[in-house]
Subunit: 453 residues, 2 copies
Amino acid sequence: MATPAEDLEPWKQLHDCIEQNDRSAAEALLDALPPEQTVRVLFRLSSDDQQRLLALIPPENAADLLHEFPDQHAADLIDHLDTEAAAHIVDELPSDDGADILGSLDREHAEAILGEMDPEAAGEVRELINYPTDVAGGLMELEQFAYPETIRARDFIRDVRERRKDIEQLPARLLLLDPLGRPTGAVHIEDVLLANPESALGTVSEAVPTLPVTASLDQLEDYFDEYETPGAPIVDELGHLLGRVRRQDFQEALADRASSDQLKVQGIVSGEELRAMPVVDRSRRRLSWLSVNIVLNIIAASVIAMFQDTLAAVIALAVFLPIVSDMSGCSGNQAVAVSMRELTLGIVQPRDVLRVWWQEVSVGLMNGVALGSLLAFAAYLWQGSAVLGLVVGAALAVNTVVAVSIGGCVPLLLKHVKVDPAVASGPVLTTVTDMCGFFLVLGLATLALPYIA
Amino acid sequence: MATPAEDLEPWKQLHDCIEQNDRSAAEALLDALPPEQTVRVLFRLSSDDQQRLLALIPPENAADLLHEFPDQHAADLIDHLDTEAAAHIVDELPSDDGADILGSLDREHAEAILGEMDPEAAGEVRELINYPTDVAGGLMELEQFAYPETIRARDFIRDVRERRKDIEQLPARLLLLDPLGRPTGAVHIEDVLLANPESALGTVSEAVPTLPVTASLDQLEDYFDEYETPGAPIVDELGHLLGRVRRQDFQEALADRASSDQLKVQGIVSGEELRAMPVVDRSRRRLSWLSVNIVLNIIAASVIAMFQDTLAAVIALAVFLPIVSDMSGCSGNQAVAVSMRELTLGIVQPRDVLRVWWQEVSVGLMNGVALGSLLAFAAYLWQGSAVLGLVVGAALAVNTVVAVSIGGCVPLLLKHVKVDPAVASGPVLTTVTDMCGFFLVLGLATLALPYIA
């Protein structure tokens, strides 16, 4: 029954290698995997097998493999390895990645791993471990290519030659420092290439803007938007060079934030869930959000309970309540999406809320009339009552304007009061629009009751 | 009343400069803006002012400014400029950006602009214009740093020195070509730095993997995940070098896809809307999605119409229908979000649908029982009927399992039939779970009718 591709089942073969402690077979298997399959195969292994695999293969390969896992999962794996195996793997990671992982473990365990690590690597990780992951300090690596501004081109080339085997990649530009360790400029590699070997690099350098170690992701974005450089030098409050944030690491952090926001908008409030996590954990995380929502939902629906007499008189109204609720949610969500996008792009700020509201009202009026007419027509066709049609159509039209107003403005207002708009916009939107929608349908119907039949 | 920051109103000052054709004042104003304010100020100008600003300032500054606008908006601006002004600005853009913009205009207008451009720049844009924007061909720039493998280090350095003023940035590695123009290897800049000036660069090169011009964003992702290089060489079907995709441009394309997906999930089906677009346009785009949804909603709600007798007997049920509909939507959306995330990461593929379903069912059962119990309790408190509580609680519990099953599996199935899961998952989810939820609440209530009251 299985297709040929299923016959191979590489995760079963990998599981067998792990069972038999067969390091070379495991390595050969991993090497042979097409790159787009690697992460899928790794996630077919149990967490236990994943840990044993990391301990089985050489630490430098394990460090490479760890990059395949999303950050939190990688930290969990390291957390469950024995201390020595964990230390050897973290030794091989770039110091910023190592600090991210150890920073998310409990302090005692992190210290134990640091104690087993190569002292130099451990020292670098220690310098970085206390910065939050979403500021420059948490994204930077320690600078490997800073030189005194007085160094001659010839001496620099000799130094690079001596360090040859330790250098993975020469950066596109070198930082130059004054005697106190503050960046004074930068030299492009091609300028070194073309410079007189006897001249001090300081004479061919250009000014280099720096960022404080506390710079936020937004500040980094402004920096990299403004300057076409592959890295941003990071300094402490006295201007001393601490490290550099590579453009690539910044872009990855930005992408992580975007994907975490997307999950939050859809109700994964922690910003991360993988089905490889324990099922009780996943249930609890999702439930924390759902239980808030059900309470809000019950509150909103209690509006319906206030109009039981009207409902009893015109049972058909019960059909339209969920329609008005769902459609207002859809319209409002579109407005939320556009506001979140414009906030991210920097096109709007919280103080632009009135302008945004006005821009939404104009679209909401048009769409409200269109949707309301459609629903009115459907209601008339079904029940033969023009008044019923008018009631539900008018309710939907008005509530569409309400929904886009709330959807457009709430993300800005939440941002203003420093509540995460990705998490909170949806529940605020649906609760208010539901209450308002139910009230409009049933309130209008109550007024028109004598004419509905 | 205005705050001091509002007093300045830089967009009004900028508008005045534009009115008075005051180029230098406009430039001074733009230069003085903090980088995080630039895009906001630009979007406070009318589209007309934006176009006049681009035509007013020198073309190279206009090209820089154009980067501040999202792609589609930038293309619209160029579309409305007069041909000569547009040509001068596109002359200054990197050839891949120029091709993206001209490729989105109608053919005749693009040809007119190309005709006015510098012939060399126009030639480069022509080579790139026919590739879709989301494959390697659409993301690449033409390679500036490919040399015959026989070139000596000394001759290369002389060449760089001669081209000095045309070179914006030397890449981290040079590509070497055989006599037919096929890449045979690459040399890192530091190896040139350290090489014997008389030796051919081919002797210090390393192998370089290439990608076909038709490579997808996913293939580019695999490439950049596997190789720590700043660029991917792109070749035609015969292996001849065509250009390179820079890691930075690839990462931007990936981020654009993610933000477009996020908008689609929330009902902006075109994947882009900015409030600066004409209001009729925005209304029409949003309505195309809403009108499909309202039809689906009416179909789903028609289930309620089948149970009018039950509703008439127990009016309180009308309160619970929107709650079950909304809560199932929430639970289902969480599952959609996790599936979209795991599809993006490559952890799951469409053929893993049964495994995903099983992983969702286990979470759905736990959360369904929890939410169902909560709703049952609320119903009992309100109406004093244990049977009513049981009916709505059981309906929500079962429908939660249905919702997460559909939410988890539908994105994989849509991907399998090559329908965009970001656009279509939501409507499929809400329609099916609404129908199922209404049927469960009202069907169970009909069965239990003698015991409710």
